[in-house]
Symmetry: C2
Subunit: 207 residues, 2 copies
């Protein structure tokens, strides 16, 4: 657990509620958390889901390991401690977005089970929804794709602590959704996500 340092702080209730924002947007806020190996297809799915939600008039926002690391987490590296703090901060940001009413599409390798469970707990403790999506792709397949050429560098020893090579990936035990991206089409994957969101009433559809 991250320790609370600051004292003299209290939560402020506003006069506009979460429910007001959800009604305004016609959706409930939620965190879709795509976890999997580099090259497994996390960002590709997130971009496709974002597009599909936009077509339905729904507002989503992508939080991405690369993007976040150029901004709020630019002062963090890839040590285990920094990875943990990276994921914790992203979890807290997702929580704020949930409360705002936005569906965030989070694409992070997030290799450690304990870190993802921390984010899940953060959400559940505050009544927000954490939807863990295991983007499950065999290492051999991800390494063959190698869209950023990172596996090649990791195998050559140019990148250290690379997940799947010299750092572990701990697969989710009971994720809300599993996508076998080495066996499915992108269209099928998007449909699974949208069906999940509709079945669990995240989208208020006006007919």
């Amino acid at each position: 657990m991250t320790q609370q340092v600051a004292n003299n702080v209290v939560w402020h209730d506003g006069e506009v509620t979460r429910a007001d924002r959800f009604n305004r947007l016609g959706q409930r806020g939620a965190t879709l958390w795509f976890t999997g190996l580099s090259g497994s297809g996390k960002s590709t799915i997130a971009v496709a889901v974002e597009k599909a939600l936009h077509k339905l008039g729904k507002l989503s926002y992508r939080l991405d390991g690369d993007n976040i690391r150029l901004g709020i987490n630019k002062n963090l590296g890839f040590s285990q401690e920094d990875r943990t703090e990276n994921i914790r901060r992203i979890g807290e940001i997702s929580k704020l977005y949930c409360d705002t009413g936005i569906i965030t599409l989070n694409s992070f390798i997030s290799p450690y089970r304990a870190d993802r469970d921390t984010v899940r707990q953060l959400h559940e403790d505050s009544g927000y929804n954490f939807i863990e999506v295991h983007v499950d792709c065999a290492l051999a397949c991800a390494e063959e794709r190698d869209p950023k050429g990172l596996y090649k560098k990791a195998r050559a020893g140019e990148i250290k602590n690379f997940t799947g090579i010299d750092d572990p990936y701990e697969a989710p035990i009971d994720p809300e959704i599993v996508l076998h991206t080495d066996e499915m089409t992108l269209e099928d994957e998007v449909e699974i996500i949208l069906n999940y969101l509709q079945e669990h009433r995240y989208l208020i559809l006006y007919r």
Copy 2:
């Protein structure tokens, strides 16, 4: 400047653009940054503006020193270094919200000019709008209000590094908006903010 630690990171362009989100919401994302002494009225104004925007069908979200410190910044205290990192992280979160299309209402004492200027720069470098609102209230007046009893504790030496008592407040030199909360009504203050947002075309009003 905060140093970039992680390498091998690139910005991902999605297929849904910022403009798509702004059109969906009928507004442009912006950061309203309320700065001023403890007890100057920052949170009171933010709550009132949030309510007024909601009545117009606009989506805003309040980020607040107290709320943020219970979440993403729970591992920061009140040393100068921690205050600077506190404001930097909030600035980065506001930037994400701007990009999402949300108007954030940020209430932070944010006593150091350099920290606020860093947040302004972060925004302007990426084409986002930073609207600095000086919530200007005489120390004597803020101290008399003392809504949380913090001045009393600071005077008694129970709280150290308290802005206005034993830590400086550096007023903005050229803020977009100044509110003299010891001379104005809350209604007038809200009107000034809304007029600013309308005049600068942050709100797309459908008539």
